[in-house]
């Protein structure tokens, strides 16, 4: 055995040292910096090649092969170590239970639609799907559209100061979306069907269930030979769609000058299924909306011949529907502008 050259001893020792350092690397980052230190362009192993001139010429080939071998060995060791570390990290990640799902979420800047708009949009979509125009009529109205045209003559109690906001100009703030009925008849003639949602105003003091400004949706269908049977069917279908469940409805007599016959429409209480509970004041039914067949005088005011055309109409309380859907306890929250309330929607 001939004596090994010094460089051979040094390279062999280097192999052992690198192996030990690779095995000691405890993270992918440490391993990566070791990899750079050993094998990078400026790394220690490629740097060995710079010693070629000092090597005996007959040994140079052997030296080159030895350095390449060292490089391969270290690269392989690093790869093995990397695989091991990756496996450990995958296992650790899979076994991580440190997240506390109850901790507060990070804030996300999002906007909020107003619940009145959301419910109104749902209703508009349902009616649109059934061929109803979605119309918009003025909030400041004439006495004619709000009262006369709806068969509410001058002496009628509903016209007195306590119910209506009057303007200095002699106009008024519409007290119901029904003010659009005769407008729609003149605009579309017959037959047609339409809804007109919007703000309405009542001169009354406010509390948790009363507001001087609230929202309604008027529904109107004008056609030939419209019957109470049609009204029943339309109301059941539409209310089932709006309330997103099959509803049971009933009609009972109700007086509104612009419909005849006029009804209060009740829906079966969902809470008690009709047995009677506090939600329905033990009645088993909840009063939902007024409706009826359009009064012949209203058809006449709309320029339609009541012998030829009839219709049904309803007025749905949009504010009330929002309160029902979301369990809002106080109607004043709807237009109070409180962002803490609105950001819940």
């Amino acid at each position: 055995m001939s004596e090994l050259p010094d460089w051979q001893i040094e390279i062999d020792a280097g192999a052992g040292r690198w192996q030990a350092e690779v095995n000691a690397a405890e993270s992918l980052e440490a391993l990566r910096s070791l990899e750079v230190q050993a094998l990078g362009k400026q790394g220690e192993i490629p740097a060995l090649m710079k010693r070629i001139p000092q090597i005996l010429p007959q040994d140079r080939k052997g030296f080159g092969q030895a350095v390449n071998a060292l490089q391969a060995t270290v690269a392989a060791a690093i790869e093995v170590r990397r695989q091991a570390l990756v496996e450990t990290l995958i296992a650790a990640e899979l076994n991580d239970t440190s997240f506390d799902p109850t901790q507060a979420a990070l804030p996300l800047r999002v906007g909020h639609p107003h619940p009145l708009s959301t419910v109104q949009a749902d209703i508009e979509a349902i009616f649109t799907s059934m061929g109803f125009h979605v119309l918009d009529y003025p909030e400041i109205e004439s006495e004619f559209d709000n009262f006369e045209a709806l068969n509410i003559p001058g002496w009628h109690p509903a016209r007195e100061m306590q119910d209506t906001f009057w303007l200095e100009s002699g106009h008024l703030l519409r007290t119901h979306t029904s003010s659009g009925q005769v407008r729609a008849m003149h605009e579309f003639k017959a037959p047609f069907r339409a809804i007109f949602p919007g703000k309405v105003f009542r001169y009354e003091s406010t509390d948790a269930s009363h507001e001087h400004t609230f929202h309604q949706v008027e529904g109107l269908m004008i056609d030939r030979k419209v019957t109470v049977g049609h009204l029943l069917d339309s109301m059941r279908t539409l209310l089932s769609a709006i309330l997103q469940r099959e509803v049971e409805i009933r009609l009972r007599p109700g007086y509104f000058p612009f419909v005849e016959p006029g009804f209060e429409l009740d829906i079966r209480c969902q809470v008690c299924a009709g047995a009677g509970c506090s939600a329905c004041k033990r009645r088993g039914w909840l009063e939902l909306l007024p409706c009826g067949l359009v009064h012949p005088n209203v058809l006449r005011a709309g320029g339609l011949d009541p012998d030829e055309w009839q219709g049904w109409a309803f007025g749905l309380g949009l504010s009330r529907l929002v309160m029902m859907r979301y369990g809002v306890p106080d109607v004043r929250l709807l237009m109070g502008g409180d962002l803490r309330f609105l950001s819940q929607f």
Binding site: D223, P261, S343
Partner: protein
């Protein structure tokens, strides 16, 4: 209004009907019942007792010992009632009996004296809240010891009928009208009133009606030899449970008859009447009357008054005068049973703030025929209670009034039409059923094949029933709306029309919400408090739409701009926090609203059908052809007085606001770093360009010409800063709104140190912005 089932059963045979179950059918057929109350139950162990003797209690000044006869046995009990006296008939509760209140009467001692039982007040028995003395059983003729429920009328069921459900039904404001409906529902006859009377002639009464339009009917009669005393116990308890306080036999009789017939009555003390003629007329200007409640009333010319020879003695249909009030020593009365014009009564009662049971009924437009019925019922009741009372006059009437003298209203229609409106076939609702139903409700039906001539009974003819559709309702509710087949309408399938502005509004709303802004829906009224606090005003005094009857001094005008209300909610948000972010320095919020503003300038909307505005005379005649009465008058008046509606543009308002630090010691003088204002401006610009992109429309450009002043700040400048304010200009050069920072003087007045950037633009103008052309990258 409360309805007594027991009383009702005097007019209809209700044998075998459970009033608790019947209530639901009543609600769906007649009018909504708010509540069903059971009254006077659980008292079957209570007995009738006569007080035989009274002695002082040895140990208590306020208590006494009463010896009472229970029929064959006597008992001594301790009693604290101040009205205890020998000869009184009272309820006796034996020991061990538990009353409806849950209290069990003990067989024990009261202050050292044995008291095996208790004498009871109305409240003790749960009959009313009256607890001032014992329940006097005056008028009860059963022997002592009789169980109370056999001796007087107890055990009743009360329907609390929703008053709003019967405003259009004058006939239902009396029990008899309700009984008529129940009779029809049960298919039983309605018992007629017994109205036979022995009238006198000794003291004639004359009536002169100078205002027949205010008083369609006036009857009166004179009754002598009456003694004012409590009414019989059954009458008192009936009034009590129907919510009326018993006063005396005469007053109680007027009230009972009003509750029964629906027609209010008034009894005058005849002593105080000057002359023997009654005049009904409009009040003279400056005339006064002191009413029963002691108030001096200033009358006006449209008020209707009842007068004797010297002047007003009653405010017609509302309240009697104090001078002619029934007093304890009254022995002779003049009874008034009349019919007054609904609007007259309503107007006077409203003006004087005197809504009474009487005025509430007259306001419903009562049937003049009922006035005489009510008069006769009263006189019969008085004679039943006081057999010595004598009617010494005829039942005087204002003139030859007979129901037939009024033109009867007849509705001509067909069975087919009535069925068609309901959506039922003749197999479901037969001619025979139809005729019987209307007849039961006292309509007179003349049929010739399918053709019908239906005469409206007087008690439904005042305003309730006029047209065939009203008969549809009568038939429908008694047939049962639940029995009508629900049927899908057959309609032409057409795509619906939605106005483009409506579609744009939806798009704007969705886009801005997705861009992180919170939508607001705010009042159409300006808030004067906010405007004053933030020193906002219309520049150059530009007018706003004024409310004639504002709900408060805060809401006197309609908003001309969205921004003041929107700024106020943003300000509140900075104080209260938003979306879980605490209200502290750096809190940044964005809000928007789409809504109408109101500008008092003529729009092109006349608020009238086009035919009434530009129609030829022939077109107007065709339009009004089928109209009559009030309807026609209303339409023609409207045409004569037409006035265009004000402008009501729909606007979009946006506010971005950020809370500044400082201001903790109450100093609002915190000025924002320029970066804060710039950041808010950038947020606004980003939101608007995002919006335009999503609308698919050309971008808006900002031109530094300064926002047009829509609101003024104190120094006369716009409330929105002109140097940090920009017009929003479209690709076609139209200015459709503005973006601006707050004027510093306005900002300083905010509740919290904050900065805000606002924008307001017209939605219809936005609709005119061209759709953008897509270009290559």
């Amino acid at each position: 209004m409360l309805v007594s089932w027991r009383w009702l059963s005097q007019f209809v045979d209700t044998q075998g009907v459970d009033p608790l179950q019947f209530a639901e059918k009543f609600t769906t057929t007649v009018a909504e019942i708010d509540d069903v109350v059971q009254w006077g139950f659980g008292l079957r162990d209570v007995l009738v007792a006569d007080v035989l003797a009274m002695a002082p209690h040895p140990n208590a000044d306020k208590l006494r010992l009463a010896t009472v006869d229970l029929g064959g046995r006597t008992v001594q009990v301790v009693c604290g009632a101040p009205d205890l006296r020998v000869g009184l008939r009272v309820p006796f509760v034996p020991p061990g009996v538990t009353l409806p209140s849950g209290i069990t009467v003990r067989d024990g001692e009261v202050r050292g004296v044995a008291s095996p039982g208790m004498l009871a007040s109305e409240k003790d028995l749960g009959l009313s809240d009256e607890n001032a003395g014992l329940l006097s059983l005056d008028g009860c003729t059963a022997p002592a010891g009789t169980p109370l429920h056999l001796a007087i009328e107890l055990e009743d069921v009360l329907y609390d009928v929703d008053n709003k459900a019967i405003t259009h039904r004058p006939d239902l404001w009396g029990l008899y009208g309700v009984a008529r409906e129940v009779a029809a529902m049960l298919d039983k006859p309605l018992r007629p009133f017994d109205l036979e009377l022995k009238l006198g002639t000794a003291m004639p009464l004359a009536i002169r009606v100078d205002a027949p339009e205010a008083c369609p009917r006036y009857t009166c009669a004179r009754l002598t030899n009456v003694a004012v005393a409590p009414a019989p116990v059954n009458a008192r308890l009936l009034l009590r449970r129907l919510g009326t306080r018993p006063i005396s036999n005469l007053v109680d009789a007027t009230n009972l008859v009003m509750l029964e017939t629906g027609n209010p009555l008034h009894a005058f003390d005849a002593r105080s009447l000057r002359g023997n003629a009654i005049t009904v007329r409009r009040a003279h200007a400056h005339e006064t009357l002191t009413t029963l409640d002691g108030q001096l009333r200033q009358l006006q010319a449209h008020d209707c008054v009842i007068c004797d020879a010297e002047g007003p003695i009653a405010l017609a249909g509302i309240m009697g005068g104090a001078d002619s009030e029934i007093r304890p020593d009254t022995t002779e009365v003049v009874l008034e049973a009349a019919n007054f014009d609904a609007p007259t009564i309503r107007r006077t009662a409203m003006r004087l703030g005197m809504r009474s049971e009487s005025s509430a009924r007259f306001e419903k437009a009562l049937d003049p025929v009922m006035a005489e019925v009510a008069a006769r019922r009263f006189l019969k009741l008085c004679q039943a209670w006081q057999p010595q009372a004598q009617i010494v006059s005829q039942l005087a009437d204002m003139g030859p009034f007979t129901a037939e003298a009024k033109p009867l209203s007849i509705i001509r229609t067909t069975g087919t039409y009535l069925r068609e409106r309901l959506g039922v076939t003749v197999a479901e609702l037969s001619d025979a059923w139809l005729d019987a139903c209307l007849t039961q409700l006292e309509f007179a039906v003349a049929r010739s094949g399918d053709a019908l001539a239906v005469t409206i009974p007087s008690f439904r003819a005042t305003k309730d029933i006029k047209i065939a559709e009203d008969l549809v309702e009568e038939l429908g509710r008694h047939y049962g709306y639940d029995n009508i087949r629900s049927e899908a309408p057959k309609v032409a399938a057409r795509p619906p029309h939605t106005p483009p502005l409506k579609l744009l509004e939806r798009q704007v709303r969705n886009t801005l919400v997705h861009a992180g802004l919170t939508e607001q829906v705010l009042y159409g009224f300006d808030d004067e408090d906010t405007r004053k606090r933030l020193l906002l005003s219309e520049p150059d005094g530009a007018p706003r739409v004024a409310v004639r009857n504002p709900i408060s001094s805060q809401h006197t005008h309609m908003r001309r701009n969205l921004l003041p209300n929107l700024l106020a909610v943003a300000e509140k948000g900075l104080v209260q926090g938003d979306d879980g972010q605490p209200a502290r320095k750096g809190l940044n919020i964005g809000v928007f609203e789409i809504g109408r503003v109101f500008v008092p300038e003529k729009s092109d909307d006349p608020g009238l059908p086009p035919v009434l505005v530009n129609g030829t005379e022939a077109e107007v005649a065709a339009y009004t052809a089928g109209m009559e009465g009030e309807m026609l008058r209303g339409v023609l008046d409207a045409r004569a007085g037409t006035k265009p509606l004000p402008l009501q543009p729909i606007r979009l308002g946006l506010v971005f606001a950020e809370r500044l630090g400082g201001g903790a010691e109450g100093s609002k003088l915190v000025f924002p770093a320029p970066e804060v204002t710039h950041r808010l401006l950038q947020q606004m610009i980003a939101a608007l360009s995002h919006l335009m992109k999503w609308l698919g429309r050309d971008a808006l450009t900002l031109q530094a010409t300064g926002p047009e002043a829509s609101l003024g700040a104190p120094d006369g400048q716009p409330s929105w800063r002109s140097k940090l304010g920009f017009d929003l200009v479209t690709s076609t050069g139209e200015t459709i709104g503005f973006v601006a920072a707050l004027h510093p003087r306005v900002r300083i007045e905010l509740d919290q140190p904050a900065q805000a950037v606002v924008a307001e633009l017209d939605l219809r103008a936005l609709e005119r912005v061209p759709l953008f052309k897509r270009v290559n990258p």
